[in-house]
Symmetry: C2
Subunit: 343 residues, 2 copies
């Protein structure tokens, strides 16, 4: 292929009808007005500019570091992801810079734009901050779970929809007649939202009326879960539901504690299945906090690493969903784990 | 001070009676024979060479990254330390490279020597690998807990001796007559070893005969703890001890599970105090796994960061011990937490 066949930044500026500096800003993740940004992105797409940029391997000055952005390193799911991302990067001779965003968008933006300044070779981000306009086609970025409103950021996630179906079907298989669903989520669109869709699909096919606690992540689960459960108490002291599919193990665990305080037995009266697969003290040799749909953390980490190190980013799948598994954690009437539940 | 007053590397070589290259190797953490190394270190000390080296600030090319070495990012104590070290470094505009050693000494050595090659400005290490000879006075290093056989690596740790005393005294205060002690530790000398010393001190002053399970970290606690507890069963079905001070929350939790399987009630029959202060799901708003002597993780992290960023390393304290606190976690007959234990 001759060099002159490849579109240049000038061609993009001409096509978009904007100044060259505006194109540069968009490519380098520096905010410009939405109208200009959309024009430049349309021109980039039309001229297939980004693909050629990557294929030419413009970014030659390697730092041999990749940055992982996670909300914190306290939540066992995030810290386990950090552990496995580091291990896989090290196999490739790459060091991991860790950013715990603590919910501060400015901190994430700082690390995101660092890749442009050649301080990091790429970013793997698990973020629910409002940073969409800082994401540029020129920053090697792999997003865990979160969808961005662009068509160049590959997403890696667990198969949350199938996980939602699996959790709800398992509750029915173990004897539940009417499982409820609880979640506390961010306003940003991500694969994680599909856990509810899976629950609703199974409810629909079994003609079960859904019962849902649907809250934002900033609301206090230690208040909201007890309010929800007490709201579902019937005059005879029973609950409207006999099972809970919780969007995370953590909220499932809080629901279990609330139910036990109210005198209900788990799993005898109410069964619970969470999502994530969090082991006590983190080690896989330890028990789970609750029965759970487990995310394959080592495989998710490996997939993110393979993608961020890919030489030709134009060929990356836009979405990669890895399979999840149900695992017993003491809160289900699972006959395989406890023979007393055999029919 | 005139420049000619400061000893040079040549002076060190002359004093030690070795070649200049040998001095350079020792300073840069490249292994040489023990005999040569000792000669060079003695000469460095005699001539006060290192102090002047640091004071002159020879290392001018900054990368604005500091490396944290931890065994893994799965254990909640380690991942929480990583979280707080990252937060404090970020306040100084420094990024954290994370190394999860996974017990592979070569990996730790790789990161340790990186500081010499100017790929990192310093190392904060929580390590129990055999890497002592790769530690050089020229590598800015702060060690968490572990002691190295040199006199230039500052150590930051919790006050483990006072923690050992506090745990044992708390058990006695809550009604124990004879507490036992259990641990699984590495062969390398660290502050953590002093938890046993604290236990022994209290036993001695109360004329209590100690009962100790003292194992290496590679031995399986899921086997060894049940064997130990069964060994302590008396013909009348009671145990020789009525309390356990466990070197970690994790092993205290395993002991609780074993005791419960054998039909003992915790804390009614046997009280347990662990060490670390691990919260379920990591969050401080959650309960502890067991009553515990809590390490001040945010303050430990801040101290490590302040030391690794210190401009004049010659003035750093060789040992800094931060205070620990007892916190109720359901496994002690603590009258402040549960009024039914008020006398």
């Amino acid at each position: 292929m001759k060099k002159q066949n490849l579109p240049t930044m000038k061609d993009v500026a001409k096509e978009a009808g904007v100044a060259l500096g505006t194109v540069s800003k968009v490519i380098n993740g520096i905010p410009v007005g939405d109208e200009y940004r959309e024009k430049v992105e349309a021109a980039i797409k039309k001229l297939n500019y980004e693909v050629n940029t990557y294929a030419r391997g413009l970014k030659v000055q390697k730092t041999n570091t990749v940055t992982l952005i996670i909300p914190d390193c306290i939540n066992p799911f995030y810290s386990s992801l950090a552990h496995h991302v580091e291990s896989h990067l090290y196999k490739h001779g790459i060091w991991m810079v860790l950013c715990c965003s603590n919910g501060i968008p400015e901190k994430e933006i700082d690390y995101l734009t660092s890749a442009v300044k050649n301080q990091s070779d790429g970013i793997i981000a698990l973020t629910y901050s409002d940073i969409g306009k800082y994401v540029s086609p020129n920053i090697p970025l792999v997003s865990f779970d979160r969808m961005f409103e662009n068509n160049f950021t590959p997403i890696v996630a667990s198969d949350n929809y199938k996980g939602g179906i699996l959790a709800t079907e398992k509750l029915l298989e173990f004897g539940c007649k009417r499982p409820a669903f609880i979640r506390f989520i961010s306003p940003f669109k991500g694969e994680v939202n599909k856990r509810l869709e899976g629950y609703l699909k199974v409810c629909e096919s079994h003609k079960i009326e859904p019962i849902i606690l649907d809250k934002r992540e900033y609301e206090d689960p230690n208040k909201e879960i007890p309010i929800f459960i007490k709201d579902q108490l019937l005059p005879d002291g029973k609950l409207t539901f006999d099972g809970i599919f919780s969007n995370t193990d953590y909220h499932g665990y809080l629901a279990m504690k609330t139910l036990q305080k109210l005198g209900f037995q788990v799993p005898e009266d109410i069964q619970i299945i969470g999502f994530d697969g969090i082991h006590k003290f983190g080690g896989e040799e330890n028990e789970l906090f609750v029965s759970s749909i487990c995310q394959p953390v080592p495989e998710l980490a490996k997939t993110c690493v393979d993608m961020i190190l890919a030489k030709d980013r134009s060929m990356l799948p836009s979405l990669t969903l890895l399979p999840v598994k149900y695992q017993y954690g003491g809160t289900t009437r699972d006959p395989e784990a406890d023979p007393k539940y055999k029919k």
